[in-house]
């Protein structure tokens, strides 16, 4: 499609503007994290690293961060196994009711968090399970499965079945074909799916509100508790900025992996 250089510049300008809006609130938080005054007042005043220094020595955010990492890691691990299995079953065969299964499997992310949260809570209560780390992980894994499934299924649909047939013709059994052929070809999809699942779990608050055990604070729950405490605002800003900075690494690594993959294909 021919685009005039004017349209190209318009698209470029518009994208740049959107990025500015996307990052303005985040940069604002980063700026506030080195503020000398303790509130959200505009314009930010002064410059100090004492808030960062202070936050490092606080147990609350460190503990919450650990909890979020634990929950996300376990939920993602479960989701990687279950989501990939489901993707294999649903992309490589046609069976009666496959369409219905397709809708059913995306429900945990298609239904709003409050529905998922209150439904899981009713379910746990009905069978007499008290809320704990396990219930939280089960809840998170349930929507993470869908994310992994979507990524793996998209990749499997694009893989040529001829590759598997060739592998079988050369004498590989099903497991060998998976391990030497299919798995390497879908590895980047697993990384992308796993990372997205982890990110969603890491930032999830609505389902978490309903399913976390008493006293188990994930990072979003810790944020929710501390926004109402004026003294905690600087620490909140520091922790939020730290998380964004730290997340650049996994996002970038995943991007490189996906990239080298499309270059090889």
């Amino acid at each position: 499609m021919y685009l005039s250089s004017f349209s190209r510049w318009m698209l470029r300008g518009f994208t740049a503007l959107v990025l500015v809006v996307l990052y303005a609130p985040i940069l604002y938080v980063a700026r506030l994290s080195v503020n000398t005054s303790k509130n959200y007042a505009w314009p930010p005043r002064g410059f100090t690293f004492s808030t960062w220094n202070h936050a490092v020595h606080e147990a609350g955010p460190r503990e919450a961060l650990t909890h979020s990492l634990q929950t996300g890691a376990v939920a993602t691990a479960i989701a990687l196994v279950l989501g990939t299995l489901a993707a294999f079953a649903l992309t490589r065969s046609r069976f009666f009711g496959r369409n219905a299964v397709n809708i059913f499997i995306v429900l945990p992310i298609a239904l709003p968090g409050i529905v998922t949260g209150i439904a899981l809570l009713s379910g746990f209560q009905r069978v007499g399970i008290t809320l704990s780390f396990t219930t939280l992980v089960v809840a998170h894994a349930t929507f993470c499965v869908v994310i992994v499934y979507n990524n793996s299924a998209a990749r499997l649909r694009r893989l040529s079945p001829a590759v598997r047939d060739a592998s079988a013709d050369l004498g590989a059994d099903g497991w060998q074909t998976f391990w030497y052929i299919t798995f390497p070809l879908m590895r980047t999809a697993l990384v992308a799916g796993g990372l997205l699942a982890f990110a969603l779990s890491f930032d999830e608050i609505i389902v978490t509100t309903f399913t976390a055990g008493v006293g188990y604070k994930t990072l979003p729950l810790w944020f929710a508790d501390n926004f109402s405490r004026p003294n905690a605002i600087p620490t909140v800003n520091v922790v939020a900025t730290f998380v964004v900075l730290a997340s650049i690494i996994p996002v970038w690594v995943a991007q490189r992996l996906t990239d080298s993959d499309s270059a090889n294909r």
């Binding site: 470029r12 239904l111 059994d173």
Partner: protein
């Protein structure tokens, strides 16, 4: 057995390794039904027991009601099945209005995100150089890690009518209310719209656009007749996220929405007071989303989520 002479089936191939694995492998190759069963068993069982089980529990709870308690001290459930809660949410205008407002908000947020994400995703997928594209993918994904509440509170400070940045720099702020809720929700869910749209554009063959130009179509015509029909599944996939996420949100109303209430706020408030009614009200977004999924199933959007 009239087996093909020249072709090695997995069973007859050289170097047989562990016999059991071979046998299992051969069994699954010959019985695709068993293979699918083995693969779908664990994830299907999980979703069925955990998720569908819970949804059923929710719907059953919605059919109960609070037991009459003269002392007003203990909340007990009256487990006789009845539709009293549903009658109440249909007959009381306040609940109907909240549901309609939530629906309207979900539609508005989705449309705003679609309009803004479309040119951005097009630029990323079809115009930008590979280098820029890589950087942009990272740039639109990264805000997802910045914390939903953190961004919400940052907006609260920016929107503050008593001296927030918008007021002081631009001279105007929508203040705290419905408009701000829409604005902030559209901001928050933007990555969920732009990412599926970008993958849609990236997959769209450039040769198709060139062919359209060669046949004499101007950019606008190519957009309407070639690009748009191909991109609909991605657009719908993005809309499922933005729509559903807005439909269930309640935190942002509390942060920037002033007195605005969505379905989520009512469910959250009622949940500790009158669980059966909260459950009944939570059925409303279920019905809306299942209806939406059934309606868009044919576009193939569910494969693009």
């Amino acid at each position: 057995m009239g087996r093909d002479q020249g072709k090695l089936t997995p069973a007859e191939s050289p170097s047989p390794r562990s016999g059991l694995r071979r046998r299992a492998s051969r069994f699954f190759a010959r019985h695709p039904g068993a293979r699918v069963g083995a693969q779908i068993g664990a994830p299907g069982g999980w979703l069925l027991v955990v998720y569908i089980g819970s949804l059923t529990a929710l719907i059953v709870t919605a059919l109960y009601r609070l037991a009459d308690d003269p002392t007003g001290l203990v909340t007990k459930l009256d487990t006789t099945i009845g539709f009293a809660n549903f009658d109440r949410l249909i007959s009381e205008p306040v609940y109907r209005n909240v549901a309609l407002r939530t629906l309207q908000a979900a539609a508005t947020v989705t449309i705003i995100d679609a309009i803004i994400a479309f040119p951005v995703a097009f630029f990323m997928g079809k115009v930008a150089t590979p280098r820029t594209r890589r950087a942009l993918v990272v740039a639109v994904t990264l805000p997802l890690w910045a914390g939903y509440l953190v961004k919400g509170y940052a907006w609260r400070s920016l929107l503050d009518p008593g001296g927030g940045a918008l007021k002081q720099v631009l001279g105007h702020t929508p203040g705290f209310g419905y408009a701000s809720s829409i604005l902030v929700l559209a901001y928050l869910w933007f990555p969920f719209m732009v990412i599926p749209l970008f993958s849609g554009f990236e997959r769209l063959p450039t040769s198709l656009l060139e062919a359209s130009t060669d046949l004499g179509a101007k950019a606008g015509r190519t957009m309407r007749s070639v690009v748009l029909p191909q991109i609909v599944p991605s657009l719908v996939a993005g809309s499922i996220f933005t729509f559903s996420l807005t439909l269930g949100d309640f935190y942002m109303n509390r942060i920037v929405g002033g007195t605005t209430e969505f379905i989520g706020n009512v469910v959250y408030r009622q949940f500790s007071v009158d669980l059966p009614f909260a459950a009944a009200y939570a059925v409303v977004p279920i019905v809306i989303m299942v209806g939406y999924l059934l309606a868009v199933r044919r576009t193939g959007a569910l494969d693009e989520l």
